[in-house]
């Protein structure tokens, strides 16, 4: 016998954002990852403020103590010390804000450029699209990391330069995505209807196209953060990143690589920090993508 239970009506969450939020909340991995991202943010902000206020906690990240150099983790230095006797735990906490700042600001820069360029190409099409996309193709021909490396080597390594350079070379993916979305949405019936209603081009872009492309843009933004964090870590590792004595996760590893056989903690802990940060952003972004995929609901 076939029994049918009447499906409960969905709750009043009606706007696309509310529905996406409801789906995101059902994703345990996503929630956990988002929790980690938030924790990371709080830690980075806290230690950034403590540093600016001149309160060294648990220790001054730049204080050297040659009597206690290359000490393994113990009760004094929880994650050990480096070759100059600096506390690894303090340096890790102090470097967190660099990674996050680079991650977020670089993504903001690349997103601003990518969305604008992609929107123009996708909306106007024809030769505008052709010209812009050929430029994008040309930029994409270069391996991103080496492009960043070269540019930073030319303009000099500072946190500001690194952010700008990462932002300037990593917008092409976003531009392609936004262009593709716009090309599809431009032909959609409601954009036709908006045109038939006599709406202006800019209004169609901002009111009709962009909000409907917001979901994939948001996802790329979140997924772009770990890319930027990894790029910064890579640059710092190669010595082109933020300069010493400022601690970053990348340059702690760079300094420690000489002692890799004697002092595993110099590599392991900053490595784990990078892994954890990148992973939590990736998982958050992935959960977000699942939550905003509404194509079936649009029908």
């Amino acid at each position: 016998m076939i029994t049918t239970t009447p499906e409960p009506l969905p709750a009043a969450a009606a706007s696309p954002a509310a529905r996406a939020l409801r789906r995101f909340k059902a994703n345990k991995i996503g929630l956990f990852a988002l929790g980690l991202v938030c924790l990371l943010g709080v830690v980075a902000l806290t230690f950034f403020i403590l540093d600016r206020l001149g309160i060294p906690w648990p220790m001054d990240p730049n204080a050297t103590n040659l009597e206690r150099k290359l000490m393994p983790p113990d009760s004094v230095n929880w994650l050990g010390t480096d070759n100059l006797g600096r506390d690894v735990f303090s340096r890790l906490l102090n470097g967190a804000y660099i990674s996050l700042t680079v991650g977020f600001v670089a993504v903001f820069v690349s997103l601003s450029i990518g969305v604008t360029v992609g929107a123009v190409a996708g909306y106007f099409g024809k030769w505008v699209d052709n010209l812009i996309m050929r430029v994008v193709d040309a930029i994409m021909c270069f391996p991103t990391f080496f492009l960043i490396l070269t540019a930073v080597a030319l303009v000099g390594p500072s946190i500001f330069n690194i952010i700008i350079v990462i932002g300037l070379v990593s917008w092409t993916g976003t531009a392609r995505l936004v262009r593709a979305e716009f090309l599809t949405l431009r032909e959609s019936a409601y954009v036709q209807a908006a045109r038939a209603l006599g709406q202006r081009g800019p209004k169609i872009i901002f009111r009709h196209l962009l909000p409907n492309a917001a979901a994939p843009i948001l996802v790329t933004a979140v997924l772009g953060v770990p890319e930027a964090i990894l790029a910064e870590a890579g640059l710092s590792f190669l010595g082109f990143g933020v300069q010493p004595p400022q601690a970053t996760w990348g340059n702690i590893i760079a300094d420690g690589k000489t002692y890799i056989l004697d002092a595993w903690w110099l590599i392991l802990f900053p490595g784990l920090a990078i892994l954890l940060a990148a992973l939590s952003f990736y998982l958050t972004g992935d959960a977000l993508r699942q939550a905003v995929e509404t194509r079936s609901e649009r029908q």
């Binding site: 009606a14 706007s15 696309p16 959609s188 019936a189 409601y190 036709q192 209807a193 908006a194 045109r195 038939a196 209603l197 006599g198 709406q199 202006r200 009111r207 009709h208 909000p211 409907n212 509404t294 609901e297 649009r298 029908q299």
Partner: protein, 280 residues
């Protein structure tokens, strides 16, 4: 009848593709009197929708290419209008209802936002936009408009969505309403309701209506005049009754024969034999 509100003369539209050019509309001429209801009938690809979109120059150029002809709206040549005149014409003077209500509404905005946008665009003098929205939702027969206007499109049924589209078109108070296959995507009972609604609204607000359809079945009783298009050409036009009773062109006869009849002895539905029509 008074002075025609819309005159189309020798309109020809080509679609230029990479390897060939298609004549979508060829030398189409017709008139629409003020307050009149005209049906443009033809099968898919006969050029009826293209003609309708051309009325406000909504066709994408390229691939479309308007080869010649003129369109006069209240004596003004649409072909010579600039961008801002065209924007006033679209929606404000000639409003459209499209085939797919579910995709013609923007999924991220509520009914209120979308109708409100249309009102603000074409009737900037309206101060109480919400009252205006409610008025039109009520006019198209939406129950409890105060609650429904906060709904998103996906929360409405197909029939309700089409009613919202009609409300949005009417809220701009156009002189001409172009309904491009307004019931094709809806099921049969809803089709009848929507056609009835369009008929009563037309009477109430004294608009001219152009109904585009492939279905002769919904034409009778709705349109006073019919225009039959076949392969981009207008093959026949005249009063609805006359054309239904005495179709002159073979294609018109074929189209009318395609309407299934209750109690018919025919075992198979009729289809159109293009070879026979071409042979005359």
């Amino acid at each position: 009848m008074s002075q025609p509100i819309l005159q189309v003369r020798d309109l020809s539209i080509d679609f230029v593709l990479e390897d060939r050019t298609i004549e979508a509309v060829k030398d189409a001429s017709f008139e629409l009197a003020s307050g009149e209801t005209l049906a443009i009938v033809g099968e898919s690809g006969s050029g009826k929708s293209v003609t309708a979109l051309a009325l406000t120059r909504l066709l994408p150029l390229p691939p479309a290419d308007i080869k010649g002809g003129e369109i006069l709206f209240q004596g003004e040549n649409v072909m010579k209008m600039n961008a801002s005149q065209l924007r006033r014409l679209r929606g404000g003077k000639i409003a459209y209802i499209f085939q797919e209500p579910s995709t013609s509404l923007n999924p991220v905005y509520t009914v209120r936002t979308q109708i409100g946008e249309a009102v603000r665009l074409h009737r900037p003098d309206v101060t109480d936009v919400d009252a205006e929205i409610l008025r039109w939702l009520d006019a198209v027969g939406i129950v409890d408009p105060a609650a429904r206007m906060h709904d998103y499109p996906h929360q409405l049924s197909g029939g309700m969505q089409q009613r919202v589209m009609i409300a949005m078109a009417l809220a701009c108070q156009p002189d001409v309403l172009v309904a491009d296959e307004p019931t094709t995507a809806l099921d049969v009972t809803i089709q009848a309701q929507i056609m009835e609604l369009l008929g009563s609204l037309k009477e109430r607000f004294g608009m001219s209506v152009i109904l585009i359809t492939h279905n002769f079945g919904i034409v009778s009783g709705f349109a006073s005049r019919v225009l039959v298009m076949y392969r981009g050409r207008i093959v026949e036009q005249g009063p609805t009754d006359e054309i239904l009773r005495h179709p002159k062109h073979a294609y018109t006869r074929a189209l009318i024969d395609c309407i299934p009849r209750l109690g018919s002895k025919e075992r198979r539905l009729k289809t159109i034999d293009h070879a026979a029509i071409a042979a005359g």
